[in-house]
């Protein structure tokens, strides 16, 4: 087997992942490894296939070929809910929250998902402090503590992004797939998010897709550069910054 040197150290690995849309190759035999505890950033120009990759990793798209291993088992054919219950949580590039639920209930739903099945028909969730207390703690942690009872749809854009992250971490996942967490944020909000992600570094393994290069180079342990579905370079930030091919293809320098 290639690619996986030490199965214990690898949290998530993709091997020769292929995805075609009609004639267009979105993922071109892509292989990479995310080591336990690291932040692995995926960067690349628009149309490089970053969101397609996240979708395949999270299970909303099935790859045409290749294998995905997570935490020691093959998850290639598992559905999205199955992967999520194994501890692979994701956030969405386009904010995906429950707009007609309060911020607190959004997080409650995320926690409830990991408390076994929800075929419990009688006891009101409102009374279940074992769900609500941890949910409040998570909101507190991402800085939304004061906004717990506001309808998620009425939160400001930046706050919705924070809620998005809160829902991802609420279930105490083993790994986070973060699809452009800074999308649409102002510089100040971005900085706060970067600081927050740094503060939880090591608690979760993270795969980070992001356009904000300052954030990527500040956070990532490993960076993989994706162009037309292919990894053209992979390594620590300093190596990537120095890589001539990357500069030409992506950073727009010649």
């Amino acid at each position: 087997m290639t690619g996986v040197q030490d199965p214990l150290a690898s949290m998530l690995s993709a091997e020769s992942l292929i995805k075609n849309f009609g004639g267009i190759v979105a993922t071109d035999s892509l292989s990479f490894d995310v080591a336990q505890g690291e932040i692995h950033a995926i960067i690349g120009p628009n149309g490089a296939g970053k969101t397609t990759l996240i979708s395949q990793l999270s299970g909303t798209l099935m790859p045409d070929g290749g294998q995905i291993r997570f935490d020691g088992s093959d998850i290639t054919r598992m559905t999205a809910p199955q992967r999520a219950r194994r501890g692979l949580a994701r956030s969405f590039q386009i904010t995906s929250i429950f707009k007609d639920f309060s911020a607190l209930d959004n997080v409650v739903l995320a926690i409830q998902a990991h408390r076994g099945h929800s075929f419990r028909f009688w006891r009101p969730v409102v009374d279940d402090l074992s769900l609500r207390d941890p949910a409040r703690a998570v909101l507190e942690e991402v800085g939304l503590g004061a906004r717990a009872d506001v309808l998620a749809g009425n939160l400001a854009h930046g706050e919705q992004r924070q809620l998005e992250i809160a829902m991802a971490i609420a279930s105490e996942p083993k790994m986070l797939l973060l699809d452009e967490p800074m999308a649409g944020m102002g510089p100040e909000e971005s900085e706060r998010m970067t600081a927050y992600l740094r503060s939880i570094k090591g608690r979760y393994t993270m795969l980070l897709v992001e356009h904000d290069m300052d954030a990527v180079f500040a956070l990532a342990d490993t960076i993989t550069v994706l162009v037309y579905g292919r990894a053209i370079a992979s390594g620590p930030p300093d190596t990537i910054r120095a890589n001539a091919e990357v500069r030409a293809a992506y950073l727009g320098e010649d």
Partner: protein, 331 residues
């Protein structure tokens, strides 16, 4: 521990509407003879049965976002089970009722499994088509009266002396009790972990799946629960009318159920009950008008329906909320 019904909730505008409707239903056997219009007892018994059906539809449509245009199928299954068993001489409620409810659940499971593979317009049309399939089945069942329907000679027999459905008042209050029970059960379900999942799936199904919920399973369960509840309405209807015909499960009935839910206020617990009461009272009012309107009440009713859809978002309960809050804002 929360009290059964929050007293504070009764002081809200929609709480007041709900209280009035419950009192009206509960006291009709006294009110109607007092004003010399005894037939209103019958009207209200029928109204409450349709309210049960509407409450069950609201569970999947209002809270689960599943627009079923075939909900009358379950009403028909409940009613026909009573009719057919009685036809073959089985009148014990202890046999009839469980059979009716189990059949409703099974059909709910099959219909739900097929239709939940689809979304949007497809879901609407498939539920409609599946229900029509049962309608045509009932029409072609010559043994059970085809188009003409099936007369039921004996109401369900519980074998309890003082609890005899042949007594109209006993039946009336049984219907009343079942209605309250259904609203209560809906309330528990909607606020339970299960209800949260179903509501979450309505709000954002993809997100629910990303969180780890296999949502189809939950929606299917809700579909079955609603089917059983609606089957119960059919069981009561067969007992009240002592008659069942294909008309009970024809598609206009499904449309009317949707309308009752929307009229009362979709996704509000008591809305469908209010909707059913207003629906039947209005229909009764128009049909009893002398002359042209009485003969052709649908010419008013059709456009009324359209106007409700276009202008009364949130139904009666939404309207009451808005009126009240406007007044509150002025103070």
């Amino acid at each position: 521990m929360k009290v059964l019904l929050d007293i504070q909730a009764l002081k809200t505008p929609r709480g007041i509407v709900a209280t009035i409707v419950v009192l009206l239903c509960g006291l009709m056997p006294i009110i109607a003879p007092a004003i010399g219009e005894s037939f209103y007892v019958d009207v209200f018994a029928r109204t409450m049965i349709w309210a049960i059906a509407a409450v069950s539809l609201n569970l999947i449509m209002g809270y689960g976002g599943m627009i079923s245009f075939g909900h009358a199928a379950f009403f028909g299954i409940g009613a026909y089970t009573i009719g057919i068993l009685a036809f073959h001489g089985v009148t014990s409620a202890w046999v009839q009722w469980p059979v009716a409810l189990i059949l409703s659940a099974l059909v709910g499971l099959v219909f739900g499994a097929i239709s939940l593979r689809t979304k949007g317009v497809y879901f609407i049309m498939i539920t409609l088509a599946l229900a029509q399939m049962l309608y045509f089945l009932s029409v072609s069942a010559q043994r059970y009266g085809s188009d003409d329907g099936l007369t039921i000679n004996d109401r369900s027999d519980f074998g309890i002396g003082f609890f005899n459905l042949d007594d109209d008042l006993t039946l009336y209050y049984l219907i009343f009790a079942v209605l309250l029970l259904c609203v209560y059960v809906s309330w528990r379900i909607v606020n339970s972990p299960f209800g949260m999942v179903v509501r979450g799936a309505k709000s954002n199904d993809n997100r629910m799946q990303a969180l780890g919920y296999p949502t189809t399973r939950y929606k299917l369960t809700a579909f079955v629960i609603a089917g059983v509840m609606c089957g119960m309405a059919g069981v009561l209807d067969a007992n009240l009318e002592e008659f069942v015909s294909p008309d009970a499960l024809n598609w206009p009935r499904s449309g009317e159920m949707i309308f009752m839910v929307v009229l009362g206020g979709m996704g509000s617990l008591f809305g469908p009950v209010t909707g059913a009461v207003v629906f039947w009272l209005l229909q009764d009012f128009l049909a009893n008008w002398r002359g042209f309107i009485g003969d052709h009440w649908a010419i008013i009713f059709g456009p009324f329906l359209i106007l409700v859809v276009l202008f009364a978002r949130g139904g009666i309960h939404g309207l009451v909320d808005r009126l009240f809050s406007r007044k509150g804002g002025a103070q």
